[in-house]
């Protein structure tokens, strides 16, 4: 934003609007910025969940073996675990590996499905937090055309 526009905005009484533009995180205070900006998997997990160790059981992840279009890769996660607190999706080699984090405040039935972008052939890692413990699963996806750049 240019200084002139900024000052005009302030003088026009658009103070609140200007501040909201400059500090969007004030509106979304809970968005885990450090975790999303982390460039490696462990850094993202540590920032988001406070731990990186996980057991590899009881989590199923469904993704295509080969994704022709990396811009749209369907991912399905299901688990029989009780008291699921959160389900986290990570694309290991994406520029920012943390893709999404689903947090449940009520009784989650242990299922989530979405579509993500994958820049290259890599593992999708799913981490489920249940009863304070982490459980994970991964699935390798071969990407023919990447979905993260022009």
């Amino acid at each position: 934003m240019q200084r002139r526009n900024f000052l005009q905005g302030v003088m026009n009484g658009g103070v609140a609007a200007t501040l909201a533009t400059l500090f969007p995180q004030a509106v979304l205070a809970d968005w885990p910025k450090a975790a999303f900006e982390s460039k490696d998997v462990n850094g993202a997990l540590q920032a988001l969940l406070g731990a990186t160790d996980s057991q590899s059981e009881q989590v199923d992840v469904t993704a295509p073996d080969i994704a022709e279009n990396g811009a749209v890769v369907p991912i399905k996660v299901s688990t029989k675990l009780d008291k699921v607190e959160s389900i986290t999706l990570i694309a290991e080699k994406n520029p920012s590996p943390l893709v999404a984090s689903f947090n449940y405040s009520g009784d989650c039935a242990g299922f989530v499905s979405t579509r993500i972008k994958m820049g290259e052939t890599q593992n999708v890692i799913v981490v489920v937090k249940s009863g304070g413990k982490l459980y994970s699963a991964q699935k390798s996806v071969k990407v023919t055309v990447g979905g993260c750049g022009g």
Binding site: F102, Y104, G106, C108, K117, G149
Partner: protein, 104 residues
């Protein structure tokens, strides 16, 4: 700018499955405009929440790693026919959108 958001919620075997399809560009900030060569700024949904009868059941934090026009499906325990399911999102520009349906 207005965006469409379609939700379906269906109760089955004591659980409710919610499916949501949102219109959103989900720009990463890494793309360049093919004509001008200028970078397209990042613009993506950051937070998606779901309420069942006014009570929060799920809050999702998303990045631009989620595909354009995001599709999200999940289930929660409980929920009966004609209960309300409301989903709302806020994006990186501070824009918001909300949509509400009855469980079928």
């Amino acid at each position: 700018m207005s965006y469409n958001m379609r939700i379906k919620a269906k109760a089955k075997n004591g659980e409710t499955e919610v499916k949501a399809l949102m219109d959103h560009p989900m720009e990463t900030g890494n793309h360049k405009d093919a004509k001008t060569g200028e970078k397209i700024p990042a613009h993506f949904i950051k937070e998606l929440t779901c309420e069942h009868n006014g009570k929060n059941v799920m809050t999702a934090y998303l990045s631009s790693g989620v595909s354009k026009n995001p599709y999200v499906a999940f289930t929660f325990k409980g929920g009966a026919k004609d209960d309300s399911v409301k989903m709302s999102w806020t994006d990186s520009n501070g824009e918001t959108n909300t949509s509400e349906v009855k469980i079928s």
